[in-house]
């Protein structure tokens, strides 16, 4: 039996749509703006110094959050190989899932209101194991539909019993 000795990976990695990063940045910006608004109110009520301090904290936290969001976004990637789907994610805890098409039970495509307004969708592949973790967020709607159809097709072709 031939076992490939090379380390796992693929040269055909794909990434979520850049619009996901825009969406995440907007979410961070909205939170930072809300904090700035609160700081402004504080400045009116309690004087300029505490207001400025709070505004500074809000800006710094917003910048840190932006950096985290960017790194998390760039950690997401997935690849369709011949027999399985690879999904990698996570910055602090990096996870690489290998989910064989033959083990797929069903596929979810979900899009919340925010995702929908950015024409994005999340694709999730379910297996019989609860611990399996194959979720790809922020895909173009067309890419999500293509992936869903392709996974369904491959899953049917390779389906295996429990």
């Amino acid at each position: 039996m031939a076992v490939d000795e090379s380390s796992i990976g693929s040269d055909r990695w794909r990434r979520p749509s850049p619009r996901l990063l825009v969406l995440r940045r907007l979410q961070v910006a909205a939170a930072a703006l809300a904090a700035l608004g609160a700081a402004g109110a504080l400045a009116v009520v309690a004087g300029t110094a505490p207001g400025l301090a709070c505004a500074g904290v809000a800006v710094v936290l917003g910048l840190v959050a932006e950096r985290i969001v960017r790194r998390r976004f760039s950690a997401w990637r997935y690849a369709e190989r011949e027999d399985d789907l690879l999904v990698q994610r996570g910055v602090l805890f990096s996870r690489l899932s290998v989910v064989p098409y033959g083990r797929m039970q069903f596929i979810d495509v979900t899009a919340g209101p925010l995702e929908r307004s950015f024409r994005l969708a999340t694709v999730r592949m379910h297996t019989a194991a609860a611990a399996s973790d194959a979720r790809i967020p922020g895909l173009d709607v067309e890419e999500a539909a293509r992936l869903r159809d392709r996974l369904a097709e491959l899953g049917e072709a390779q389906a295996a019993g429990l």
Partner: protein, 435 residues
């Protein structure tokens, strides 16, 4: 369809047995009145409650029926919300016969079919007359194997021939429970009570009434374990492994060959000194959910509650024949991350099976047939990254048994992930198919 049979009802006494504790409570309610020679007509309320319960039980019995329809088991039940359940027999993972104490008194038994798949649930036929249960079990198993029901003689013969592999002696079971985690807690509680009672008799009553819940729950755990595993025996039949056990509530399970998702061997610290271990198997099934009885909640089935390593090895030979003999240890630097686990961590594999060992005080070894692997995950946390380590998780459809190649060198983890992916793919494919 040729296999369709007429509808059948459960045993008429089943509502009483199903009531379980409620029935006992009702009996307790009336017995003192009757014994005192009192007139039952005094207690209208109790009588009314009992009458309503009886009527409800009768109706539920009346509307529940089942039949075998081709390859399916069909159950219909419910009055307001009518349910028609269909269980495809080809997906049966295991068949259990369960007889609680009350059921034994009335000579009835419950047949439980554990189904696989994401929507898998448990088909319960509660309760059937005792003498009909075993033939029905053999018949259902034969149908599950795909045999057409030609003659009844063949199926009964298949169920009859079996070879007993192990029986657990009661003395050893008691000793093992006494030095298990549950047992030690219960002993500590009792010892604490005795000491308090000796030193300050006045305080003891307060302690007992205050801690009654804890005392009861500790004793219940010990009792449940003893009751479930009393005289447990494992036999090998043509339709799988037969596991029988029980003191008050008897259970008889049949585990179909090739349906075991994972096996684990647990060796607690104190047991290890005696060379004892416990062997549990994990089957596919739905995640635990509300409303399930205790029987279903116990997801892992002990096939050997306590026994020597040699005995466990014999059983393992039946369940995972091609299992790795050697396991490779973790790199030395793992000591810094998991000082307690370091001595236990190991993994090994053959072409068809992967084994992992871990645990802090107790040693837990898992075997997963590669055919059963659902997905693989490589996870690396911050502490692992700084030590150039990574873990590989092996996910199965089992309920709560996860094999993990813990804390391996990054290069080794990557290699293992790739190798296991390929081996699992080949194991999944039926022989002779391309690729």
């Amino acid at each position: 369809m040729s296999g369709t049979r007429s509808w059948q009802r459960m045993h008429p006494l089943s509502p009483i047995v199903r009531g379980g504790r409620a029935t006992i409570a009702v009996a307790v309610l009336f017995v003192p009145t009757v014994l005192r020679g009192g007139d039952l007509s005094d207690s209208y309320v109790q009588l009314a409650i009992a009458a309503v319960l009886t009527a409800l039980g009768f109706v539920s019995w009346l509307v529940t029926r089942w039949r075998i329809d081709g390859d399916d088991l069909q159950i219909e039940t419910g009055v307001l919300r009518r349910q028609s359940l269909r269980f495809p027999l080809s997906q049966v993972q295991a068949v259990d016969i369960v007889r609680p104490g009350l059921a034994r008194m009335f000579r009835v038994a419950e047949l439980r079919l554990r189904m696989g798949g994401a929507s898998g649930s448990t088909a319960r036929l509660a309760y059937l007359p005792e003498r009909e249960v075993e033939p029905l079990r053999d018949e259902l198993l034969a149908l599950a194997r795909g045999d057409r029901r030609d003659e009844g003689a063949e199926t009964t013969a298949a169920g009859a021939e079996e070879r007993v592999l192990t029986t657990v002696p009661t003395g050893r079971l008691v000793a093992s429970i006494l030095i298990s985690d549950v047992g030690l807690v219960a002993e500590a509680v009792i010892a604490g009570l005795v000491v308090t009672a000796l030193l300050a008799p006045a305080a003891a009553t307060g302690v007992v009434s205050g801690g009654a819940v804890w005392i009861l729950s500790a004793l219940t755990l010990v009792w449940r374990r003893f009751n479930q595993e009393y005289r447990l025996s494992v036999a090998e039949g043509s339709d799988g492994l037969h596991v029988r056990s029980g003191l008050v509530a008897l259970t008889a399970e049949t585990i179909r060959p090739g349906r075991v998702q994972a096996v684990r061997m647990v060796e607690p610290l104190l047991w290890r000194q005696l060379g004892w271990c416990r062997l549990e198997v994990d089957l596919a099934g739905r995640q635990r959910s509300k409303g399930e009885g205790q029987g279903e909640r116990r997801a892992l089935r002990a096939v050997l509650p306590v026994g020597s390593r040699a005995l466990a090895g014999e059983l393992l030979d039946r369940i995972v024949p091609d299992r790795p003999r050697e396991q490779s240890r973790a790199p030395r630097r793992v000591r810094w991350k998991s000082p307690l686990r370091y001595r236990m961590i190991a993994w090994g594999r053959t072409e068809t099976c992967v084994a992992t060992t871990s645990g802090r005080l107790r040693r837990v070894t898992c075997w997963v047939p590669l055919q059963k692997v659902q997905s693989l995950r490589r996870v690396q946390g911050p502490a692992q990254r700084s030590l150039r380590l990574a873990s590989v998780h092996v996910d199965t459809a089992g309920r709560n048994l996860h094999a993990t190649l813990r804390d391996r060198d990054v290069a080794e983890a990557d290699r293992a992930l790739e190798q296991l992916t390929v081996l699992a793919r080949d194991a999944r494919r039926p022989l002779g198919s391309p690729g």
